[in-house]
Structures are given as structure tokens and as C-alpha cells.
């Protein structure tokens, strides 16, 4: 459930320049604990650059902020332990078995052997995969892989999970099931930061931001944005905002 008093992400005046190109142009926003925050924008608007800074894979040129209560400029390594990350393209190792993937990522996040053993059991039970623990990930149906990848992104109980186009190219039923997982995680207090090109998915977010040419042009709940831009759905909102982009 959204707790607006407690901020998982606080970003102020963030700028990232590559040479004379300003990829992220002075953005500021907050994300609350347990919130599903949709991070939208056209290709090249600066979403990936901003997200890399939040995940501490890149330093901003200027600006400041905190993620999971820690400073993005000085506490990068600590932040990495408190966040989870998943994308459609890279999530699991197909040539490892289900339990091996869990062990690998548990180890990367510094869990003890005992913690990993406990996590493996509880995760397999929650996913109803007790009987498929020895299956190679490459042989699993897409829907299972997604569920497993999402659970593994949270193996270390992060406060916030970043999902980078988690449903790209996924069939309509699997895509919807995945959003129910996202909703369940958020209702337990995990903050979800998600990018997508499916505008129907933008409707499921508590709040949405739309980036255009490096700036956040719009920020609000889907209902607020639809009212503000006089659109019947988020596709209409997005078209009105992102259609104004000047750079490519």
C-alpha cells in the first residue's frame, strides 16, 4: 500500500550530460513506499540514462537524491544491495537450473548459505515450482520464467524494484498475470519503478511520469493526467505529451 509519508526515491535537479548533449535535463520527483511508479517516455527521451543513475550504474553530472534512504552520490554500493532489477531482455541464466539461478543471485547479493537455502525453499513454494527446481531455465514457459525472474529480483528483500520493460513482446495473458504479481508486491510495501511501452499498463500505475527531451513533462496519477490532457486513456495522454518531442 502506498505510504506517501515515506519516500523511497527522492530526486532533485538531476542532470546528466554526455559531451554537449544533455540526456537528462534537470528532473525532480519523489516515489513513495509501496507505490507503483510508471516511468514513461519516447525512445531517446532519457529514461534509461535516468534509471541507470537511480540504480547507481552511472553518476549524474549534477543534482542530488536518495534511493532507499541512501545518497546516490556517495552511497552507491550500499544502494545496490537494497534495490532489485529486472528486464525482459536480461534476467536469468538460461543454462542454469532454477535452483542454481536462485543460488547465484542470492550469492551476488551477499546472502549467507543458510539464507539462500531458506529463500530457495520459500520461493519455490510460493511459485509452486518445488517439482521443477532442477529444470533448466531455457526449457521453462515464458510465464514461469517471468515469475521466477521477478522473485529473483527480490531475493534480497529490496525496498524498491526497477522493472525495465518487463513485459515487452509477452503474450496478452502472461503480460496481465505479471501485472498481478507487481500489484501483489506493491501491496506488501515494495516500491515498484517500471518502464513500459504498453499504454494500458500505464493505467495500472499509482502515478506516472512522462519524459520528453530529457525533462519530466508530466507527472501525476493516470486519472489526473487524463483530466489535465483531456484524454480518454493514457495512450491519448502520451500522444499529446510525447508528440511534442523535438530531439530524436
Amino acid at each position: 500500500m502506498v505510504n506517501t509519508g515515506e519516500k523511497t526515491v527522492v530526486i532533485r535537479n538531476l542532470v546528466k550530460k554526455f559531451g554537449d548533449f544533455t540526456a537528462v535535463d534537470n528532473i525532480s520527483f519523489d516515489v513513495s513506499k509501496g507505490e507503483i511508479f510508471g516511468f514513461l517516455g519516447a525512445n531517446g527521451a532519457g529514461k534509461t540514462t535516468a534509471m541507470r543513475i537511480l540504480c547507481c550504474l552511472s553518476h549524474p553530472t549534477s543534482g542530488e537524491g536518495t534511493v532507499a534512504g541512501l545518497d546516490i552520490l556517495t552511497e552507491q554500493e550500499k544502494i545496490k544491495k537494497r534495490i532489485g532489477y529486472m528486464s525482459q531482455k536480461f534476467s536469468l541464466y538460461p543454462d542454469l537450473k532454477v535452483w542454481e539461478n536462485i543460488e547465484l543471485f542470492g550469492g551476488i547479493y551477499g546472502l549467507t548459505d543458510k539464507q539462500i537455502a531458506q529463500k530457495t525453499e520459500s520461493m519455490l513454494k510460493a511459485l509452486s515450482m518445488e517439482n521443477t527446481r532442477d529444470m533448466f531455465v531455457r526449457d521453462m514457459p515464458l510465464g514461469w520464467k517471468q515469475k521466477l525472474a521477478f522473485s529473483i529480483a527480490m531475493v534480497h528483500d529490496p525496498q524498491i524494484v526497477f522493472l525495465d520493460e518487463p513485459t515487452g513482446g509477452v503474450d496478452p495473458v502472461t503480460r496481465r498475470n505479471f501485472w498481478e504479481l507487481i500489484y501483489e508486491a506493491a501491496s506488501k510495501g515494495v516500491t515498484v519503478f517500471v518502464t513500459t511501452h504498453y499504454m494500458d499498463e500505464a493505467e495500472y500505475c499509482d502515478r506516472v511520469s512522462v519524459m520528453v527531451d530529457g525533462r519530466i513533462e508530466a507527472l501525476g496519477s493516470p486519472a489526473e493526467l487524463k483530466k489535465q490532457y483531456n484524454a480518454s486513456d493514457m495512450d491519448g495522454v502520451f500522444t499529446k505529451i510525447a508528440g511534442r518531442a523535438e530531439r530524436e
Binding site: L142, G169, D171, P172, V173, M199
Partner: protein, 303 residues
């Protein structure tokens, strides 16, 4: 040649080890139409494209492009089709202009000879003609790839997932380009995982797990949808999904943006009765209305 068949696919099967990528595919694509092959990752879209573009052989079945067999007349097909694969396949180290000239030369023609075919798209990237392909943005790379696929004035254009990972606004622009290419008489076969692009095609095939699960014009497919479909609106999508799924007579219950689409069986509950069920579960203030299904509703029913 009006109304005749451009691409004929009969009983095509393809397996990779134990995976059946394509199972008995039968399709017929008409001259001058935009045919959309719509389905998720892993459905078999790329396998079918690779067979039709003569890059791989089917295990069973036959296919022809403008009367040329994909096995017997491989060389002829390669000369007369344009193919844009799903991944960016141009030369990263060559400039925009060099890539274009290279592809024209491979097909024994020149950019000037067929300039009219690509002009509409090329003029949008011409100011970057000296830039190397690797330094282009995603949108410009796509336009260059489309120019290279069109530079020899192909009869049939194969586009494998040209809009995957592309934002909603750029997708719309891309489809506007396709409509103009179609106007010039080119047959277009295009694949996409986006169900909402179905309405931009003349005819479509829905593909899942290596099988065509339905085909026809978008209208025909929608008109075959057998169930009563309602849209329920509530500020909290997930609680109505949970409340309605166990109800008898509810066939399917899926989120669609700010609405929940509810498929009800013949003889099942009425819209009014659904509102009472929600009310009994403590969910008040929802609205419900009967709606026409879209292609995504049809796909969900068939999958």
C-alpha cells in the same frame, strides 16, 4: 495481377530439436495488402519470415512468393523481395549514404534509379547522410533499414517486428509510412507483438505456439467472438479481478487499462447481476457496459 495471391503458405512445419516452431501453417496473402502476423515472442513469427525470405528451409510444406517457390526459385525471390529483420542488420561502420549505396549495388541498381520509392522516408534522414549507422538514434536506424529494404523496389516487403520496443508515438509514425508504401503497390507482410496494430492491417493472422489460431480481416475475427463482453470500471482494478474470477458464468476476466473486460457465458449472469455481486463483496460505485471486443480480447479467448 489485381486480387491475386502474393504469398502462398501451405502446410509449413518447422522444428528445432524438440521444439515445434511452426505447426501446419496455411496462409494466403493478397497482392498489395498489408498482412499482419500478430503474436508474442516465441510464437514462430521469425521462423516463418525466415522460410519465406529463403533464409531457412521448412521441414514440411510449401510456400511461394509471387508464384516463385521458396526452394526452387530461391535466387529469384531474393532479388524481388525486401526484408527487414527484427535486429538492426546494417553495417554500423558505414555511413547512412554508404549503406544505402551498398544495398543498391548488391541488387544491381542505384539509389537514383529508385529514388521515388524511398524519397518519402529518406528525406527524413538525409541530413544525417554522412553519419555512421552506429551513431544514429533508434528511430533513424529504423528509417535507414527501411530505405535499404526498399532501395531495389521490391515487389514484396517483409518486416519482422519493426515496432518492437518502439514508443507509442513512433509506432504510429511508422505505420503511417507503411500505409504510404502500400499505396505504391508493394505487398507488405509485417509481424508484431502489439495487438493494437491489428486494425492498421488489411488482414491478419494470430499466431501462438507455432499455430495460426485465427485469420481474416480484423473485423471478421472480431465478429466471430462468441461471448458477451462487458467493460467494468472501478478505481481499483485488482480487487474487481479477484472478486469476479470465481463467479459462475464468468469465462474470463482481464485487465484492459482502466477497464476490466469481462466475458460472460450465454445464459450466465447479466450486467446488473455482476454489479450486485460486486456490491455484495463490498465494492460499490463501479460502472458496467456492454462492449464490442477488440483483437486482444479475441487473442486472449483463443490462447
Amino acid at each position: 495481377m489485381l486480387d491475386s495471391t502474393a504469398i502462398k503458405i501451405e502446410g509449413i512445419c518447422k522444428a528445432y530439436k524438440d521444439t515445434l516452431a511452426l505447426q501446419d501453417i496455411n496462409l494466403s496473402i493478397r497482392q498489395g495488402e498489408i498482412f499482419g502476423l500478430i503474436g508474442p515472442d516465441g510464437a514462430g513469427k521469425t521462423s516463418l519470415f525466415r522460410i519465406l525470405t529463403t533464409l531457412t528451409l521448412a521441414d514440411k510444406g510449401r510456400a511461394s512468393v509471387n508464384g516463385r517457390d521458396v526452394v526452387e526459385d530461391m535466387a529469384d525471390i531474393r532479388r524481388t523481395i525486401g526484408y527487414m529483420p527484427g535486429h538492426f542488420a546494417l553495417y554500423q561502420d558505414l555511413s547512412v549514404e554508404e549503406n544505402l549505396n551498398f544495398y543498391a549495388t548488391v541488387f544491381g541498381t542505384t539509389v537514383e534509379a529508385n529514388y521515388a520509392t524511398i524519397k518519402d522516408i529518406y528525406c527524413q534522414i538525409e541530413k544525417f547522410k554522412d553519419r555512421r549507422a552506429r551513431d544514429l538514434s533508434g528511430g533513424m536506424k529504423q528509417k535507414l533499414a527501411l530505405c535499404c529494404a526498399l532501395v531495389h523496389k521490391p515487389e514484396v516487403l517483409f518486416l519482422d517486428e519493426p515496432t518492437t520496443g518502439v514508443d507509442a508515438v513512433s509506432r504510429r509514425e511508422f505505420w503511417a509510412m507503411l500505409a504510404r508504401i502500400k499505396e505504391s503497390g508493394v505487398t507488405i507482410m509485417v509481424s508484431t507483438p502489439y495487438m493494437d496494430e491489428a486494425r492498421l492491417c488489411d488482414r491478419i493472422g494470430l499466431i501462438l505456439g507455432g499455430r495460426i489460431i485465427d485469420k481474416g480481416t480484423p473485423e471478421e475475427i472480431i465478429s466471430r467472438y462468441p461471448d458477451r463482453l462487458y467493460a467494468v470500471r472501478d478505481e481499483n482494478m485488482f480487487r474487481i479481478l479477484a472478486a469476479l474470477r470465481p463467479v459462475e458464468g464468468v469465462l474470463r476476466c482481464s485487465s484492459f487499462g482502466c477497464e476490466c473486460h469481462l466475458a460472460l457465458a450465454e445464459g450466465g449472469p447479466s450486467g446488473e447481476e455482476i454489479l450486485s455481486v460486486l456490491s455484495a463483496a463490498g465494492i460499490e460505485g463501479c460502472s458496467i457496459e456492454k462492449i464490442r471486443p477488440g483483437i486482444e480480447d479475441c487473442f486472449i479467448r483463443l490462447s
